[in-house]
Symmetry: C2
Subunit: 222 residues, 2 copies
């Protein structure tokens, strides 16, 4: 029975890692689609989202089954409950990548508004945050989890900066408005991806250290 | 021990209901602040958010303690895990009300762009969705949970419609742009509140019926 528990737990972890990789790929594909104007990447992101949705259901089922059948000790239980929460975050990260693709589709109908620098940079940071958040979860790294949470301010500032710049384009010429708004939303979606990675980081920190760092970023980020 | 479990469960439910009421109040305050230009409501919303954050931690602790100490049967366990997930959704709904207030603060510095009709309507529907989602959870009403999920399309369409209208204001005069964008964001925040209510509805439906209606809204909404 103990061995069976370990095997199921291993399968659960593998599924979480797969979800993390797929959601990171989706962010990357969505940004390449935007930057290199490759509309054919749309289908790849949609396909990955379907996969993500399937794995999400499987993870929830495994975690629930393990809790109800194995009555795990506090440490394992905390891990399983975190897995259920993190699972939702990863699925929503995938949804946000799909939202980016939807905005891209509108943008690709018109000429590019401007060369893109800030948005791909934000995407890189958010993607890394997702990666590190899941790494901190699987390997119970509290410090890494905290670092992920501290990155959130950087992404928030980038989002603000990108918005200010896009605003100048809108004020300059009303012809720029629809494209600038689409880019504003894409920037916002990336910021929300970073928020989900931060949620994961907070969950992991709590799981490992038993301390709540939600709503206290001022205290622990330099 | 059985009685103790029931008492703790009751406390958990009361806390969830309190969170639901506070988050609904926050939405209402935020929209009154916007519509009636009452900047003094800001503090009330911020105060409520602090309360929400405290109750969130308490709910997580109660649920976790019940699972680890009482090893509940499958039905109760599903309820407790749902409570943990729903707890996150309610806290994020509160965050979104705070986001609305932040946008309001910018808007109140300028003259109103236009009379507001769509946004207060969206707020009313989203608020009702939060109410019904929690009602469906506490009283295990699968049908009500499903109805909440079906409302999501209505809110999405309203958001789209509000955006289209605001866009015409932006195109008309660049002086309208910053205010129209703030309103676009407020509309988007309300749409996300409805998304969280929908997530709760999906969780409840799964909890009661054991059937997953995530990603299948076309099949069950008329």
């Amino acid at each position: 029975m103990e061995r069976h528990f370990d095997e199921e737990l291993k399968k659960l972890k593998e599924n979480i890692i797969t979800m993390s990789l797929i959601s990171q790929d989706m962010i990357e594909d969505a940004i390449i689609m935007l930057k290199e104007r490759k509309s054919e990447l749309k289908e790849s992101v949609f396909e990955k989202e379907r996969k993500l949705n399937m794995i999400q259901i499987e993870i929830d089922n495994i975690a629930f089954k393990l809790i109800v059948l194995r009555q795990p000790a506090a440490g394992d239980l905390r891990f399983l409950i975190s897995a259920i929460k993190i699972n939702s975050d990863l699925e929503r990260i995938g949804d946000l990548a799909v939202n980016i693709v939807e905005r891209n589709q509108e943008l690709l109908k018109e000429l590019p508004l401007k060369p893109l620098i800030g948005i791909p940079r934000m995407a890189k940071i958010s993607q890394k945050m997702v990666h590190d958040a899941i790494d901190s979860f699987i390997n119970r790294k509290a410090e890494l989890a905290q670092q992920v949470c501290c990155q959130d301010d950087i992404v928030d500032n980038l989002n603000e900066q990108i918005f200010r710049e896009l605003l100048t384009y809108m004020l300059q010429d009303t012809k720029n408005i629809t494209r600038a708004i689409s880019l504003t939303f894409i920037s916002k979606y990336l910021e929300r991806i970073a928020d989900h990675a931060t949620n994961i980081g907070e969950d992991v920190y709590y799981m490992v250290e038993g301390k709540d760092i939600r709503h206290h970023s001022d205290d622990y980020c330099k």
